[in-house]
């Protein structure tokens, strides 16, 4: 792996390698001295074209725990006329000697442009691009689910996948980079994914995705869910006729107290409730749900640092060995 741009092209072997490495990194986070010397002398730039304090500090903590030098570059200019072009910014970072660029951008595909052009030769990590992907969020979600799934099966997480796990993702799928990255990665890891959303907030073409689609959250819960992920509803959707009102949205697609009780009534005692944050309490998730023992919201934040450490470590540690194919070599004839 040279870059981490998307989960769509991530093989199962690479995904599991990142998650396993993250487990090792998590152990570091539990020590009194939370630091490894692995990336000493390497420079990681957090290039943020869009505000996201949560993601930025998570990457910053991850890089610092690996002893990398961290530069935070908040490039708020959002148009060619107002600010420096992405090309000039990238070439500037190359001249400064960046080894990795963690890029957050409002434009879908901006990390791909950095990786595909000769503007900069650094490792590129996509920290969320437009409405396209947010691969480290999906990896931290998968990490959180995998720990839960392994615990339920009485095994260690290391080396396992999410085979058989039923995951529902509810909310604004159309504009969600988190949903896209999760659909691809969860499928790769063997989970059974259902998207739940108003039809207005599902993209045309979703029927070709490797998942089920439902317009009804209650039906989805009744069918059985092991992890329920709620997506944030962005403020700007509320006045664009995607749904009639926030109250109607909340009643039909929010994880409210009634649905929290329904989990117990349906006998789904081990179902976890996830949210990538920041939450709109009372809209897509009720406070009781967000604060319940089922909620993994803070675990997700904690695991985010471990997963990002793993990604930075694998991209920058000089470990350039080729990806091991996911298939098991069974005979010598294949040579």
């Amino acid at each position: 792996m040279k870059h981490l741009l998307s989960t769509q092209d991530l093989s199962a072997a690479d995904a599991i390698r990142i998650l396993d490495t993250a487990e090792e990194m998590a152990a570091v986070g539990e020590r009194e001295v939370k630091k490894l010397p692995a990336l000493r002398g390497r420079t990681v730039v957090n290039l943020f074209f869009e505000d996201s304090t949560r993601t930025r500090i998570s990457f910053e903590a991850a890089a610092k725990r690996l002893s990398a030098d961290v530069i935070n570059f908040a490039a708020k200019g959002s148009s060619v006329s107002k600010g420096e072009s992405l090309k000039d910014t990238a070439q500037t970072l190359a001249a400064i000697g960046a080894d990795a660029v963690v890029i957050r951008h409002w434009a879908s595909g901006a990390p791909h442009r950095l990786a595909a052009t000769d503007w900069i030769d650094a490792a590129v990590i996509n920290a969320g691009d437009g409405t396209h992907e947010h691969p480290t969020q999906a990896l931290l979600d998968a990490f959180t689910m995998r720990r839960h799934w392994a615990r339920l099966h009485g095994t260690e997480s290391q080396g396992t996948d999410l085979s058989g796990m039923r995951v529902a993702i509810a909310g604004d799928v159309l504009h969600s980079r988190v949903a896209r990255s999760n659909v691809w990665l969860l499928r790769t890891l063997g989970a059974d994914v259902t998207l739940v959303a108003p039809p207005t907030l599902l993209p045309i073409g979703v029927e070709e995705w490797p998942c089920k689609v439902s317009y009804n959250l209650d039906d989805t819960l009744e069918a059985g869910v092991d992890a329920m992920m709620m997506l944030r509803v962005q403020g700007e959707r509320m006045n664009a006729s995607f749904f009639p009102s926030t109250r109607e949205y909340s009643r039909r697609w929010g994880f409210d107290d009634t649905r929290l009780r329904a989990l117990d009534e349906l006998g789904l005692k081990d179902t976890i409730i996830m949210h990538p944050g920041p939450m709109n309490r009372g809209l897509e998730i009720s406070s009781a749900a967000a604060d319940s023992p089922r909620s993994t919201v803070l675990d997700q934040v904690r695991n985010g640092v471990s997963v990002r450490m793993a990604a930075l470590y694998l991209l920058l540690s000089g470990d350039t060995r080729e990806t091991v194919p996911a298939t098991t070599p069974s005979s010598k004839e294949s040579h």
């Binding site: 434009a107 595909g109 901006a110 073409g205």
Partner: protein
């Protein structure tokens, strides 16, 4: 030897039998057996054209020359050099310059620049509305009566979406045999649109440009054209559904013509997966099914003509994020080859059909009397010679256009323009630019090049 007399020997006329063509004083003096023995042939410069196809000079109904205003993207001089190299003898220069070509003064300026350059006929397209703002009709009559003799009117790049304004424009241009060329794009359905809406946009997270936004405007406009009894031209048709509506309109006798770009005949939205803005264009690249429907429609006459929508942009408008990038592709120097690849090599068309869709009908739509004529004695000598057996690899840096934004970069394509005769004068010889034609009023001027 007489400088203005050329004997083309053994060219396959419209891809048919090999015949001679004698060009003298700007017209075809003779065709066939009598050409070599014609009295003017003795002094003629002989061009051996065995293996080459002779076609009428191509006429582009849809070109962006960018001058005045964006001379960093293209000028009339560079754009018409590209046109000549691409086999064109006439282009229609779109109105979205700065200032907009919405007055007689601007269209006359563009017309004059074209005559001064001398590579092709430059026919300005007039804006339908003042400043392309979609609010008030521009002085269409003044542009029609100007020295530029504008017959095609378009707000291209922007749809005349107000149905009343579109109706009035269609009605008004009847007074001078004009045509409204519509960029069919419902604006509310395409707010923030970045690419075709479908399976690929869903994955890429790019704002969708749904086919219905094009089709609904075309449906409305053909009904308006029928109601007011006017002539409508649909720019760059890009969807299978649009083809169905135009086919229906023609079957009802509605006076509608339609164009398709070479890029929509070859490329699909799968290319957008690269996020390389060289593939960003409006209307967007569609699906394989759309491409096949467009080819079929061009072959059966539902779509009348090829329009390049040649849209050069400076590199900084493409070397950026997809969402930031300008829409548009260059096309003048690749059009012939792409049409050969998609229509002729596939067996859908012959060279006579090629002449119809690239010359005869576009000249008729634009009311260009001297263009798109048969290759017969007495006709204006706007002729190209094409080597259909040639193959070449597209290199945008070797093109005459200032735009480097060719979506065909690196592709191997068939067919090469060997010579272009504009008014009997070779603007292109041996596949290279020769010297421009000098119109009488510029004959004494010294070329700045």
């Amino acid at each position: 030897m007489a400088e203005n007399t050329y004997l083309i020997r053994g060219a396959a006329i419209l891809g048919g039998d090999a015949e001679d063509l004698l060009i003298s004083d700007g017209v075809i003096a003779a065709r066939g057996g009598g050409a070599a023995s014609h009295e003017a042939a003795g002094d003629a410069i002989v061009i051996e054209a065995a293996g080459l196809v002779a076609l009428p000079g191509m006429v582009d109904i849809h070109t962006h020359l960018r001058e005045p205003g964006r001379e960093d993207a293209e000028t009339v001089e560079t754009g018409t050099r590209a046109a000549a190299l691409g086999g064109y003898t006439a282009v229609h220069a779109m109105a979205n310059s700065n200032p907009v070509a919405d007055t007689a003064g601007v269209v006359e300026q563009v017309h004059s620049l074209g005559r001064a350059s001398g590579w092709v006929d430059v026919r300005p397209v007039g804006a339908v509305t003042v400043g392309l703002a979609g609010e008030q009709l521009a002085e269409l009559g003044a542009m029609a009566d100007s020295r530029a003799r504008v017959r095609v009117f378009s707000d291209d790049g922007i749809c005349v979406h107000d149905p009343v304004l579109m109706r009035r424009a269609l009605e008004y241009v009847k007074a001078f045999d004009g045509v409204v060329a519509q960029h069919a794009q419902e604006p509310r359905l395409t707010a923030g649109a970045q690419m075709n809406e479908g399976a690929v946009s869903a994955v890429l997270g790019l704002g969708g440009w749904p086919a219905v936004a094009e089709e609904s405007i075309i449906a409305r406009d053909v009904l308006l054209a029928q109601h007011v009894g006017s002539r409508l031209h649909v720019c760059h048709v890009s969807t299978a559904g649009s083809v169905e509506i135009i086919r229906w309109a023609k079957s009802r006798g509605i006076d509608v013509t339609a164009e398709v770009t070479p890029h929509h005949l070859l490329l699909t939205d799968e290319l957008v997966r690269s996020y390389d803005p060289v593939y960003k264009v409006n209307p967007p690249l569609r699906t394989e099914a759309d491409v096949l429907a467009l080819r079929e429609a061009l072959a059966d006459g539902t779509i009348d003509v090829i329009g390049t929508d040649h849209a050069p942009h400076p590199s900084e408008h493409k070397e950026c994020e997809w969402a930031q990038a300008a829409m548009g592709m260059t096309g003048l120097e690749t059009a012939l080859s792409v049409v050969q690849e998609t229509m002729i090599e596939t067996g859908l068309m012959g060279w006579a059909d090629f002449a119809r869709v690239t010359s005869t009908v576009p000249a008729r739509i634009g009311r260009l009397e001297d263009q798109g004529r048969p290759l017969e004695a007495g006709e204006p000598a706007n002729i190209i010679l094409v080597d259909p057996a040639a193959r070449w690899t597209v290199d945008p840096y070797k093109m005459a256009t200032m735009g480097r934004n060719s979506p065909f970069k690196g592709r191997e394509l068939p067919g090469a323009v060997i010579a272009t005769f504009f008014k009997g004068h070779p603007t292109v010889l041996d596949g290279k630019l020769n010297v421009p034609y000098r119109h009488p009023e510029t004959a004494g001027a010294v070329s700045g090049n």
